[in-house]
Amino acid sequence: MKIDSQHPATGRSAGVRHRLGLPGLIYLAIPCLAVLLLPLYNRADPQLFGIPFFYWWQILWVPLSGFFLYLAYRRVEKGR
């Protein structure tokens, strides 16, 4: 990897320190906030395939939480 070769003295690149850091914490906080802000989604419209907003919003955040976990994973494991 390029980064490693630029920092031969440290042995491993500065990014591979397995730290979440502020960006990592923000990635993790986003899905949490999305489901905690109940007043925003406790309603019927807009509907999707006949499913009220309350239901599809919360179900939607399940795969989206996976995406944000992936961003946090990339941050921790690869330092990006």
Partner: protein, 517 residues
């Protein structure tokens, strides 16, 4: 009796029993060591960990209870969804450090960690006892799921003939857990998940087609059940309860001994992080399962004469089994019911192993036989796992089901009170163990009192603050009290210079070692 369903059900059950015994040979290790029997040698890779944690957290009781809650209580029952969205970011941030330190010192449980971190066997005992007490009714509840599907197969709901299948299932479970340890539920979890995914996909495709689409299903639900009631004056009502319940339950899940067991059995922090990205796939299925409650409502299942006796006996808990019986041929009912029953055995096995690990390390070895050999230690854990399971079986056979449900509700509240000692310890040694112990005891006392206000029927407490009424999850309120007391107690002890500084853990071992990719 539904003959084809029974044949498929029994066939699948034999298959997983066979797998359970065979798994002792899988990734072979010396099963005379507790980390081999009780943690599968900490060698499970990303895939197996995914199945194991999934099988552990999304239990048979979930399949039965979540549709039942939505069927009976509407939108409030949907709290299971935000709860599972919240849990993975939480564990992602916190638990990899626990894995690293546990691997370094060969800790098997969170109580092990607390004992070493604070040099306090008393605090560890408190954590272990809370874990055991919270886990027992949880195991018992798994049996409720099995009971419901066995009745659905056409067995009588009462008497020895009705209870015999349950007893047989549990003896088989106890036997393969005893011989194979954590490897057994890990192997079975794969079969269980395949069955669950097939069943749920079939249900969410077939039933809405039969009922004329989702729009028609939702139109059949009364408006007051479909959403949480609006804030009324100064009373936040169910809205604050919904959020605090979701958040508190997510934090409690992270602390349950069976969750710790599954997490510590992974091969490393990277394995854990990678599979947490994919664990929401289960939550997605859970969301679909929750909607089954509305489908059962829209289908007016309880008014079907052939299903009415079951709804009479089991109430809303028959919503999911009822849908299967109503819309599917016998052999498929067998598959679905087997998914629920096997879905009970996986977590029940992990929970009994977790409780056994806690007893062995924090009670037996700490207070009884400090110098026991690894072999003796493992033997005790194996025996305790049997005792725990038969205790749960007697619980279900002898006491009303409602009792187990209430105790499980209380268990979640109690386990949440172990958070300050465990989670703060993962980051800092600032807190004093005596302050943590006292805060734990007072928070437990308050929580039990608050739950007793509703005769242990509900987990909600109405907090009155600055002119507002904020009903919330008792567990979360007790946790706030717990943290405040631990802070105040530690500050007091520190200001008097009476605080303890004992720490048997290696400060450098919290940062994980670099793993092979």
């Amino acid at each position: 009796m539904h003959l084809s369903a029974i044949v498929v059900f029994i066939g699948l059950f034999f298959l997983i029993a066979f797998l359970g015994f065979l798994s002792a040979r899988w990734q072979r290790g010396d099963l005379g060591h507790l980390h081999e029997w009780g943690l599968g040698g900490r060698r499970f890779g990303a895939w197996i960990t995914w199945f194991l944690i999934g099988g552990d957290l999304y239990t048979a009781y979930t399949f039965v209870a979540v549709p039942a809650l939505v069927f009976g209580a509407g939108a409030l029952g949907f709290f299971a969804l935000p709860y599972t969205v919240l849990v993975y970011p939480l564990v992602f941030a916190i638990l990899p450090r626990l894995w690293s330190i546990a691997k370094h010192h060969n800790f098997i449980t969170a109580a092990d960690f607390v004992a070493a971190r604070y040099g306090s066997p008393a605090l560890a005992l408190a954590i272990a006892l809370t874990g055991i007490v919270a886990t027992m009714p949880y195991i018992a509840l798994q049996l409720v799921g099995v009971e419901v599907v066995i009745a659905g197969l056409g067995f009588p709901t009462h008497g020895i003939i009705g209870e015999l299948p349950l007893i047989v299932a549990f003896v088989v479970l106890a036997a393969f857990t005893y011989t194979s340890g954590l490897r057994a539920p890990a192997a079975i979890a794969i079969v269980k998940d395949v069955l669950v995914y097939i069943t749920v996909l079939a249900l969410v495709i077939v039933v809405p087609l039969q009922l004329g689409g989702f729009a028609k299903i939702f139109a059949a639900i009364p408006k007051h059940l479909l959403y949480l009631p609006p804030v009324h004056g100064n009373d936040l009502g169910l809205q604050s309860f919904y959020i605090t319940l979701a958040l508190g339950s997510a934090m409690a899940l992270m602390l349950y001994p069976h969750a710790t067991t599954a997490v510590l059995s992974a091969s490393g922090p990277k394995t854990l992080r990678r599979n947490w990205i994919f664990l929401p796939a289960y939550s997605f299925v859970l969301g679909l399962i929750a909607l089954l409650g509305y489908m059962a409502y829209a289908a007016k299942l309880p008014s079907n004469p052939s299903l009415a006796p079951y709804f009479h006996a089991y109430g809303p808990q028959f919503a999911m089994p009822g849908l299967l019986l109503q819309y599917f041929p016998g052999y498929f009912v067998g598959i679905g019911f087997a998914a629920v029953a096997i879905g009970a055995l996986v977590p029940a096995a992990i929970m009994s192993i977790a409780a056994a690990n806690l007893f062995t390390r924090s009670i037996y070895r700490a207070y009884w036989r400090p110098n026991c050999s690894a072999g003796q230690e493992t033997q005790v854990a194996k025996l305790v796992s049997l005792v725990v399971k038969f205790g749960a079986l007697l619980f279900i056979l002898l006491l009303p089901t409602q009792f187990a449900i209430q105790l499980q509700l209380l268990g979640g509240i109690l386990i949440l009170q172990t958070l300050p000692a465990i989670v703060s310890g993962i980051y800092t040694r600032w807190f004093d163990p005596r302050a943590l112990l006292l805060a734990w005891a007072l928070a437990l006392a308050w929580a039990i009192w608050a739950a007793s206000l509703t005769s242990f029927q509900k987990s909600s407490y109405a907090l009155h603050l600055a002119g507002w009424t904020i009903p919330g999850y008792i567990g979360l309120y007790a946790l706030l009290l717990n943290v405040l007391l631990a802070l105040a107690g530690t500050l007091l002890l520190r200001s008097l210079r009476w605080h303890s500084t004992v720490d048997h853990t290696d400060a450098a071992a919290y940062e994980e070692l670099r793993q092979d990719a």
